[in-house]
Amino acid sequence: MAVNFPHSTSQPLLEVKDLCVSIPSYGRSVALIEHISFTLREREILGLVGESGSGKSVTATAIMGLLDTPGLKITGSVRFRGQELVGLSARKMRAIRGRDIAMIFQDPMTAFTPVYTVGWQIDEQIMAHERLSRKQARERTVQLLAEMGVPDPTRTANRYPHQLSGGLRQRAVIAMALSCNPTLLIADEPTTALDVTVQAQILELISTLRDTHGSSVLLITHDMGVVAETCDSVMVLYSGRIAETGLAEALFAHPRHPYTTALLNSIPPFYGERPHRLPAIAGTPPAPHERPAGCAFSPRCHDAQTICSTIPPLSPAGNGQQAACFFSTSGQQEH
């Protein structure tokens, strides 16, 4: 079932339905993500948030068609502008990748092939998708770098990745991703490896992209703060399943799923009173192969009941939010 964001009137750009990815392990199939469904509209920034192992990167790479581990099984549907991407031929997928959907990764340090200049690598992507000479490509590269706020873009284009600082590198990565004017940008933890001051700059850059380039962004992160700062809407993942979705402001103000609540509570507050002890969540997020039956969060949940041994459906929880919890509508556990 798709998640709709009522405020957005624009056309859905990406529709993901019941996306499941599983991998065989010790003779059985282990689901990495289960029944992920959402819709991303044009010029929308959607935050995909969750702890490690929650399946957020798998979701993104599955959409990009970059999962190629032997034995991996992908089911469900990913429609990009109405075109089905699951099961699309490698050649057709390649034409979409980089041109219509671009992706940036966590570590700008390793995102570039170390032996080529940054400019060369951006040119390469442009030339892979458009019939341009190297000179024309380079012109666009320099222009893009300038747009990304890179000082002295001509010179920077001729430098090798290791010669750039982390911030510049991430700008170059974003410039490369945007080089063919993609309509969808998937950013997988784009700021995790960066310092806060640099992170702030990059986040600023990303949030302006929809205006400057008309791009939608799927932002993947584990940092609630980043989501709150940047995204229009949020999807919280827990152990490969959607825990809760909703508009960013509403969700952070009134989380409907106990996990979201607990997660927000366990972040040490920067302002206001300092609690003597943080309301931590007991235990650790389960690895995919040891995910409990029923609600994956139930073993760590204060309010777990017998019913939680079945998987709760994602159901509306008011305020445009949806939560996968039997007690979501009633329980607003704010501690």
């Binding site: 980089g98 032996v115 090798y160």
Partner: protein, 324 residues
Amino acid sequence: MLSAFLRRVGQTLIVLFGISVLVFLVFFATPGADPTARIAGRNASPQTMEKVRHEYGFDRPLPFQYATMMKKLFITRDLTSYANRGEQVVPEIIQAAPVTLSLVCGSAVIWLIVSVAMGTLAAAMKGSWVDRTLIMLGLVGISMPVFWLGQVANLISLSRYHDTWLFSWVPGPGYVPLTQNPLAWFKALVIPWCVLAVMFIGIYSRILRADLVALAQEDFMRTARAKGLSPARILVFHGLRTSAITYVSLFGLDFAQLLGGGALLTEVVFGLPGVGRLTYQALTNLDLPLIMATVMYSATFVVLANAVVDILYILLDPRVRDGR
């Protein structure tokens, strides 16, 4: 850059000096190594022995002898063999070098092409039967003693199947200079090339495959895929180009060792009068001037190759370029 270069030269000289002193001392510690009797001839009278001893300076202190030998080897370049009167060692090595060079270069071309093809193919088809077959082939290549493989090749091409169309063109063992008859040169060397290349094909295809497979996990490879590049382009421009750094550095060292005499077993089995065989002969005859010259020659190659590899590193890897 200059200081790095000078340091390099200094290190090289230390290594060369160390080797030469070691060889020199070991020679004098080895019983039966005194060449006087061999130079003087059978049953030469004690006076003749004395004359030889004096003429060759064997009655001088060791450091003096060492210095003289080095001077003759590097400055006047007229060092003569102890085992074979009147034979100058420098021209001898200069004679042998082209043979080894022909052997090693040809072989290197083969192993370069085949190992890159095999390694790339195996990496591209990782996990398939093609991959497994290629891995196995590589392992078999590594497992065969080169001298034995050479013998078997000789047996097949020169004896058992020499009369069939397949091998009737194979000339007997021996070397024909390229300048003399290029076709005969090629015919004489093509089987040695292949035999020598087999082991390196095995080693290098494995290394390359492992490297490429490891690289496939790298972020930048994922980025390249995310860019929508074709698999071939990713493999060649991003994978192979990056692997080239490791590959070339190993290649340089092996190539140098072979040029420096490491191919001696192949040379021996195929009767090629190259540097390796020369060194081996010098060693078995305990012919110090020739040992010294060949060992210096081979050490120089290895050290030189190290330097060339470093330069290649700088050319291939911009990170190293900035590192110094």
